[in-house]
Point group: C2
Chain length 362, copies 2
């Protein structure tokens, strides 16, 4: 258990690290940011910074010696970096979680091994395996690289007629996974935390809308049946326990609804994010404890905070030029505006977000 | 009007500057902290820092050139410093406000000139004037230095029998003001903001309890009559307008209650704080826009944010060894814990605060 004044090292310097650093500071914890990128958003709000590559062992060693515990803002921290650091300081969540979530195939196998449903999938090592996979799963299906995809990058939707050899080459011939296309009615996520003592606390389930493969809005609570929400939280808890997880994680799920016959909602796990998550940003303005503070509490070995909502929360991402609307947003009564301090506006780049919290209508 | 990415210079590096810097960062604003003290709490959360004395003109010049607008976390910034900087960059609130609030005599005269009631007072330049003042105002009365007092420092309560010459010398022979002792039933404060465009927004009135002359707890809303609350806010607005104020200010008032006869509550202004204020810390967890964000918005020339409460808020300061109770506080469901990152615990030192927000009971 850390004491106030301790330093938490954070790998990555983007907006998640920025909000983690500030949440830690609220609690009297110092943040030391390690990132290869100059002008990182998190550099503006931290007690110490290291600008170095993830394979710079001299810098990693000095970083480890300067901090008390280490966490990360993204799941693509190189495994070798995490292991190098874990030999010197506690890394939370543990590096095995990185190995698990960096590979879509391993992640899906892990989830299924817990008795939790995912989309049907099959490993695709070459074009021949892709043909066999499509024969098995049918179309539409989605070919994804096993590693390094995010925001829709590294994936291709296979509809009728697509040339499989061309498709496989389009992803660079990288090891892939083929997933059957899930006809979902809603995308939801569970943002939850597990403490070093095994305590588990989830926020109310979030409902997410993506545009161009990037999260556009999150509304909490999700408009799903109470028993579906309970089941989603149970799934997240099962995953967190099985991974001996410490920190905040997000589990993204599809809700499959049947309109005809007795109404039911089925859940299928889409992805695990071993970190604070965009769909939890509303907690900064809409919950007693933000997901960022919750993560820092867990990483520090401290008790988890309350996850109560102040009302119904809607978070909208400010993507690319959306951020140019900051004047109007600041004028809007009750809009909680967050800008990440990124100097350059680029298409698809997350520049900020805005959260609106309104009283619950029972 | 600043644009996101601009830098706000802050004079002072204590917890108020720390919370201002973080609130600015939420909005994509960078903070540059100027302070003579090493290990300042705000140094851990800012984009740039200058460690220099307030009369170091080389440092002040470089600071002014590095920032877009300047504000301060405390009213005792030397007047010469403020003027030197104001010749180079906008200083908000304007330095005249500092002159006004640094001198208790000038401040009280200003308030009275607006037709707002204060305690009866008289100037005390020497021991002879003190004797005349006591003859006029009676006892108990309070002798205060005109400048540099805070948290009960620089003031002496004159009760029956005190030797006046000794009392005057006890305050170092500094220019003083004698105030009649106000028999108040409650201490309240109005935390409010005025924008660069003259817009004015107040939070609900706070009720404060002091222990050993230091703020112990603030509860919002104050348990006063609605018309008293309205009058308190009107007073704050009148003061802000007359001072052409830009930023957050706090007006501390005494409520005088008459138990016998028709019930009434009279208001007397005690003090003006030209800055974010300890009695507004609850807004971090209990209001749509925190006082810190509100101040940064005003200083940036941006629209003010909504001041709505999420519920009934109680803030308790963690003074000195109180902060050693952090483990218990972190365990308490719904307690929002703030620690200021001060390494050394000293008696009377503000180490942090905790806010509890509970649903309003109508």
């Amino acid at each position: 258990m850390l004491t106030p004044g301790a330093t938490i090292g954070i790998l990555g310097g983007g907006q998640l690290a920025r909000m983690l650093a500030m949440a830690g500071a609220r609690l009297g914890l110092k943040a030391h940011i390690f990132s290869p990128g100059a002008n990182e958003p998190a550099f503006d709000v931290c007690a110490a910074r290291t600008l170095a590559e993830y394979d710079d062992e001299t810098a990693l060693k000095a970083f480890a010696e300067a901090v008390d515990v280490i966490t990360y803002e993204f799941e693509n921290v190189p495994a070798a970096t995490a292991e190098f650091l874990a030999a010197r300081r506690p890394v939370r969540p543990n590096p095995q979680v990185l190995a698990l979530t960096q590979d879509r195939l391993v992640e899906k196998q892990f989830v299924q091994s817990l008795g939790i449903e995912t989309a049907a999938f099959t490993e695709v090592a070459d074009a021949g395996a892709l043909a066999r996979g499509v024969a098995k799963l049918g179309r539409p299906s989605i070919l994804k690289t096993r590693r390094l995809g995010y925001d829709g990058k590294g994936q291709i939707l296979l509809q009728g007629g697509a040339d499989l050899a061309v498709t496989f080459r389009a992803l660079g011939g990288a090891p892939c996974i083929l997933e059957s296309f899930v006809q979902f009615s809603k995308e939801i996520s569970v943002v939850a935390a597990r403490g070093a003592d095994g305590a588990f606390r989830a926020y109310d389930v979030c409902e997410n809308v993506h545009e161009h493969h990037i999260l556009a809005t999150t509304t909490t609570p999700a408009s799903i049946r109470p028993e579906t929400a309970d089941r989603a939280v149970e799934i997240a808890q099962k995953i967190a326990q099985a991974a001996d997880y410490v920190g905040v994680l997000a589990v993204e799920l599809f809700v499959i609804e049947r309109a005809v016959g007795p109404v039911w909602e089925k859940l299928v796990v889409n992805e695990i994010a071993p970190r604070v998550h965009n769909s939890g940003h509303w907690t900064l303005d809409g919950a007693t404890t933000s997901q960022f503070e919750q993560h820092m509490r867990a990483v520090a070995g401290w008790p988890l905070g309350a996850t109560r909502r102040h009302g119904r929360a809607t978070m909208r991402n400010l993507i690319g030029v959306d951020a140019n609307g900051w004047r109007e947003l600041l004028q809007e009564d009750g809009a909680c505006v967050h800008l990440y301090g990124k100097s350059e506006v680029r298409p698809g780049r997350k520049m900020g977000h805005v959260t609106r919290v309104t009283p619950e209508t029972p």
